[in-house]
Subunit: 495 residues, 4 copies
């Protein structure tokens, strides 16, 4: 999932559209933009809300240009890309952003992450006469805000966030402000930027990744900090100051999702204050150090990437392997099609293989008769890797060695990453026996990066010199935030 929000920009929706597009990799299932247009009526200034959301890629959902320029005209916007983490995908009512009208006025919310005490809270609220119109954990936050006894809106938001647990990066829009927040553990990323408008005034934005700043010409200011609620409003525009309050009083050491660095974020983004591509290059190097591949006599070993997810890490692997004395050649052995959309239909029988063939092809001259090292970022179910190895074998390499820049995934994510159940993870199917996994994939050798080397590749203090940690639950089963129940998000209405 991804979110983005804009404040004080005359073309808020157009910017949100571009931002969502740049964050498309974080969620291809659905997209939505909620805008507020500041107007003055009899009771003083207020904000008219308009929303459009639907299943599909950003460019499909907003393909009617009238939407962005007319229907969604406004100066404030919050926007969301949905990534299916539950079976209830496709349900229109579950697409974000959400909005409500409550005691304080209108209010919108976009949520990236996954809460972990939803069921208990939901039951408690239902006992109090609350109705739920979606099956998402995000709706819960709205109810908690509306039910808070706090006098001001920020207090209400803080009350709500003190009640929920789990992972959340949030963008919220009230009648007067853009409010952003991040859970005390800071599991998902969220950054603040600003855009100089044509009239030299500043517009502000938040986004899941900084690549969204680049596409709209914004400059990065800082991250929303773990445990922080930031308020961007008229005061911010006048003074440049971004007000901020804490969520809990004694926050833990943050535990950022390390998988954001491994796979999920774009390499051109800065995440948790560090460039993603820098981490990926390190992951490749550490992996080569741990698990090099030696050349055959007289021939360099051929190292190839899986475009585009392992591009940078492969460069790191290749250079380090070379440095270790193994004659190494980085090659482009796989070509990725530019035309594979979400809606690609695949008539015909053998779907899994065809899915890979439609996306990738081999460069035969590069692979034939070679000792080939394929560097990839991770293995989840293993089905794609299997098909990919088969495709590569079709180009008749001498050997295929697979190197993965992360440890074996053995546990599902509870904080918003779309992993399958334990039983479907290939590592668990083979008792975490790397050799057996390699055999199942059809490679001559398989090596994963160790958890130690993984942790060596990422920063451990932030820009203020404070210590930071990482969530590695998918590799270790150590969940930093308690989980109340399993499959939480689907408590109602669903099949």
């Amino acid at each position: 999932m991804a979110l983005s929000a804009f404040f004080n920009h005359p073309e808020a929706a157009v910017n949100a559209y571009y931002a969502l597009h740049s964050l498309q990799h974080r969620g291809q299932e659905a997209a939505g933009i909620l805008v507020g247009r500041t107007v003055t009526n009899g009771h003083g200034p207020c904000r008219k809300f308009a929303i459009h959301k639907n299943n599909g890629l950003v460019l499909e959902v907003f393909k009617d240009p009238v939407l962005l320029t007319h229907t969604l005209a406004g100066d404030v916007a919050i926007a969301h890309n949905r990534y299916s983490t539950t079976g209830a995908s496709g349900k229109l009512e579950n697409i974000q952003p959400f909005f409500m009208n409550y005691r304080e006025g209108n209010f919108g919310l976009a949520h990236n992450g996954n809460l972990t005490n939803t069921r208990v809270l939901r039951e408690e609220l239902k006992d109090l006469g609350t109705i739920f119109q979606t099956t998402t954990d995000s709706e819960l936050i709205l109810h908690l805000i509306a039910r808070s006894g706090a006098k001001d809106q920020i207090g209400q938001v803080r009350d709500a966030l003190r009640t929920v647990r789990g992972a959340y990066s949030l963008a919220m829009m009230s009648d007067t402000a853009l409010i952003a927040a991040r859970d005390p553990n800071g599991i998902r990323p969220l950054a603040i930027g600003r855009i100089k408008r044509a009239d030299d005034e500043w517009a502000y934005m938040v986004a899941s990744e900084t690549c969204a700043f680049d596409i709209v010409g914004a400059e990065y200011i800082r991250d929303v900090q773990p445990n922080e609620i930031v308020i961007i409003d008229a005061h911010t525009i006048t003074t440049g100051e971004i007000r901020s309050v804490s969520i809990v009083d004694d926050p833990p050491v943050p535990t950022h999702c390390i998988f954001e660095y491994i796979y999920f974020s774009r390499p051109d983004s800065k995440i948790f204050e560090e460039n993603v591509d820098r981490v990926r290059r390190k992951l490749g190097k550490k992996l080569a150090h741990e698990s090099p591949v030696q050349p055959e006599p007289g021939r360099k070993v051929t190292v190839i990437n899986v475009p585009d997810s392992s591009n940078t890490a492969t460069l790191g692997y290749a250079s380090e392997n070379q440095k270790m004395g193994n004659a190494t050649k980085y090659q482009i052995g796989l070509i990725r099609s530019h035309y594979v959309g979400r809606t690609f239909i695949q008539p015909g029988q053998d779907n899994r293989e065809m899915k890979v063939k439609v996306k990738f092809n081999t460069v035969k001259g590069v692979l034939k008769d070679r000792r080939v090292v394929v560097v990839d970022d991770s293995i989840v179910r293993g089905t794609t890797s299997q098909a990919l190895v088969k495709l590569i074998r079709g180009a008749e390499p001498k050997e295929v060695h697979l190197r993965i820049t992360s440890p074996p995934i053995t546990h599902p994510c509870k904080y918003g990453m779309d992993f399958p159940s334990k039983g479907e993870l290939i590592a668990n199917q083979h008792g975490c026996d790397v050799k057996k996994i390699g055999e199942a994939l059809g490679v001559d050798s398989l090596e994963y990066l160790s958890i130690d080397k993984l942790l060596e590749s990422v920063p451990h203090v932030n820009s203020e010199g404070k210590p930071i940690g990482y969530c590695t639950a998918c590799f270790t089963g150590n969940y930093p935030v308690p989980i109340d129940e399993i499959a939480e998000r689907q408590v109602a209405n669903d099949d």
Copy 2:
């Protein structure tokens, strides 16, 4: 607006689709079907809900056949046609049916009518921490049900309906039952029917008009009575008994919407226990009696209908005018196109006139040089009548006399009919001076039916011998249910 619901039918959604189609005249803006599929899980039998709704005609919204046969597979369904009564039309979140998950489980609702104490209730609920995700009055009912302290669900529904005021015919779907209800005044219609299934078991249905029974082969049982909540559930299937509870303890004499007979219902429906076409024929006769048109010497007067809304009434008018000694010929002087859809685009400048031309054409041979009487059901803004008279004048009749089978509309409807504000009603623009209105429309004479004759045309006792009355507020300003405020439905979020 229209609603329909089915219980214990293996193809509930298919039937709902046909029913909505037959009720399309009551709402062309949006349509939705919510189905429940009874399944058994670990906790016993429960009902899985699935919904599809969108802007458009029924045949557009459900044009993908997979929807009805797969997505919406189920044995219970509630369905709704939306008719824009507010400016917030087009908003997806406002399309019915609505559903919620609350303390008692899943619950769906379709509402026909308009509540009149919404604003106060909404404010009260908001003060208690309730959030509103739509701008409809119908959502309010859901909150009231969920907040009721009553122990059983029917008690909760009754609590809620005792709290709201105004016009409502409701179909509700819980995990175990289909619940239907009608406000104490019985303003909007709602009837109960049953269908014999192939296996000789009975399925039950409710619908706004009985024409929906005909299309699916159901037989009419009886009306949901004013002030009645009926429960159709497993008990009904087993015993044939439809349980019933009252809403308020001392209900008023019902005040049915008389405009349903004049215009809104289909002539092939039975409404408020009376055939609509029978009333319409009487309206025509009474009007001829009050305002006949004499022939010119030696030539019959030509009486024409405005297809198809005044077809039956025109027959009544023509026969009575003849009976009064005026040589009269009923003729088809206007042809209506079968191909005018909701989405008809009208490029070019003079839109109002073109709208009429695209829909109607004159039969010149019938009108030329004749004294023509045009019988129509009602005049609201007058713009369509104006254009129609101009069209008829193009066929060169000698004279055009307009006869309307209802009194002048002078007040907006507060109970769900989509009339404009007082100032836009043509009758008010001319101080209810019929002569001036006729001049504005361009006719040689104009006459309306009197309110007395109107009331003479409709039944005044029901099938049980009890007295019934009518809401004539649009003609008289006498609103039978108090109105708290104006423009009630649009309290939030809207532009």
Copy 3:
């Protein structure tokens, strides 16, 4: 099929759109508009062509408003509604208008009717090296024009039309003129009109029926005569004169399609110089004269129409039946839905019955316990009549008498009407035994109009006092133009 064309109108495509809409009843399968925009390039004035055509109703095919106002901007247009007369329906390349670039420049054509010597001509042309890109007979005319040795374009058109046989009403567009033509027998209609433009200049149009003139505000000038080619060009604009040449030298007495009067044309049109509704009323009267229905003692006989195809004829029948001493009441016993589009899906099993139910419903109070006479225009396969009778029986009339305002259809049309093969015509299935047909349809009595009375109902001299005749082949098998072969239109490419 229907065609329409405009010359010298700045919004030619917008007008063509409205004209096609008013002619929609003549063809619901596909629609197309070809426009010419007069421009001046280096070589003098020429005409840029643009075209849009697709399967669907006019309002679907042209639903993007940019099409009419921008893509199809121009001052000349020819337009066509397609009505499937062959199995090759749905093929985009077969949708009209067609256009070609040939020796004389650009040329477009729209054709209403059916040629009867296609196969021989097509083989001859293929032997000369001609290629066919469609499976229509209309393409043949283009090839014949291009291959003509005549010096001027009108001569080329005449050469081509002297070569083909059968039924054709044509609108053609060259770089300088709008050319219209009608076959020597004048089987299909075609009329000429003119529109006064805002600047007082005249625009000209032709159309299959005069109802197309009404919708765009044109006045009827005259019919294109059988055997006539008319040329509307700059000369016409300057002088008001419409030049004209004959096709063959010794034309036969015209044989107009009598079925146009019975069913195909709109009642508000003038066809073959006579008002359609006038003929229909006569048909109803003659039928009552031949086959009256007597009332039961003390009760009027109830006469109902099948909306909207038999509306006018039923009025004629009812008044004549009354005049013959039978107490008769014209009633509205069937209601037709306004919302049945071409694309109506019909989930569920019993399709034929559902098709009728979705379109029609009975008014029970009018039919119950009555002797009912249903007046309809014609019976082709009988399946719709059967389902309709069953529907009417559901309203529990005492008796159902079916009266048809045309003779039994016993032969397929070779000139463009979409009738099925001989064996599928219900009349042939029962050896033209009217009693047996009535039994098959489930009525108490069935009567058809006799061929003699049919011919008595239509004019036999035209406005110039010349004799005219009618094609009655579908009732008699007397085909006025020789037929070379069967299933002519489908000579290639088709399944």
Copy 4:
């Protein structure tokens, strides 16, 4: 443009769909598939044709899965991707494949390339009474085949191909055979492959590039030779023999389009019997040799690719630059979005820059303060390069050096590549002064590959040892096939 064709495969259309998808880079404007289904009717076996084509990407045009599995069921298929080379883009009638019915039966054609004597031939044919229904040069070939006096179909095809001049790779489908051909100069590629079916029988295919073989699991047999017509029919299936005839008697030395190697073909294809990626690596090396970039003292020079068009060439450049003693680091400095479709809308003002931003982003850590070498394949108008350089400058590199793996483009292509007119080519705008071009693009230095080095990078004998040459007209103006006129394809109907 691209084409593909299949013979003797039970799922010919499904395969064609995948093949077109893999060739999507050669034409994103429109796509079409024509299939033949072999059936037996009264006259013996014949082939039923069915076609579907439309504007859009392959996955859009064929998104309805019924198309491939039902509508286009058949065992023979020819398929085409259109790439707009003229202003008449978007016209449905111009989308390939084309088909005709002529003397010999049904016949379909797909054409890749551009003819150069179209105007003269078209005028000649028009004088003989031929009509043109498209504005393409490809239709001409159909007419020439139909008009040929040759007795057998292959003779007719040869006659036609002896008459036309220019570039053509063709796939043709008759009632009995798949026929493929390539012009005597062999300007565009075309290869033959075969697929082993599940029943061990062979199916045959042709395709513009061999990447289409990979996606459907076909093996490469050989190229269709320049000047060759090959016939794949029942004889081929029985014997494995592919019959072949020559077009002209004294063919020239082939002149393959060298731009296919530089940019147009996919790197995973074999073209003109050579792997594309191999040539591209050489181009990069030769360019480094001619125009190396030296590092700053103590820092490696950073070499980046423009993904994905210059990926392989950049590797070649980087390794050769290193080998020449310049400390070099290949880096991923630009990220390309996977979600930019053909239909991406770009609301907002500065379109050209936004187009680049939506497609590319920089990896700031890699570029900042570096001496950066950007390797790209070619520069046409220069507008994209300009925007790209601006984007890169935003990452604050110290210097930007642009290296192009081809010479300056100075002449338009007449053989099917979509280049603009001379005046729009940036090289011509600056008198081919490389320094000035570089200034216009905003780089610190710009160097092109020389024509000599370009020619050194490609093979000069074919697999049979025969000499082959190249068309370098876009760099040199030496057109190997005479050009009759300019803007040939647009002779009629167009705006």
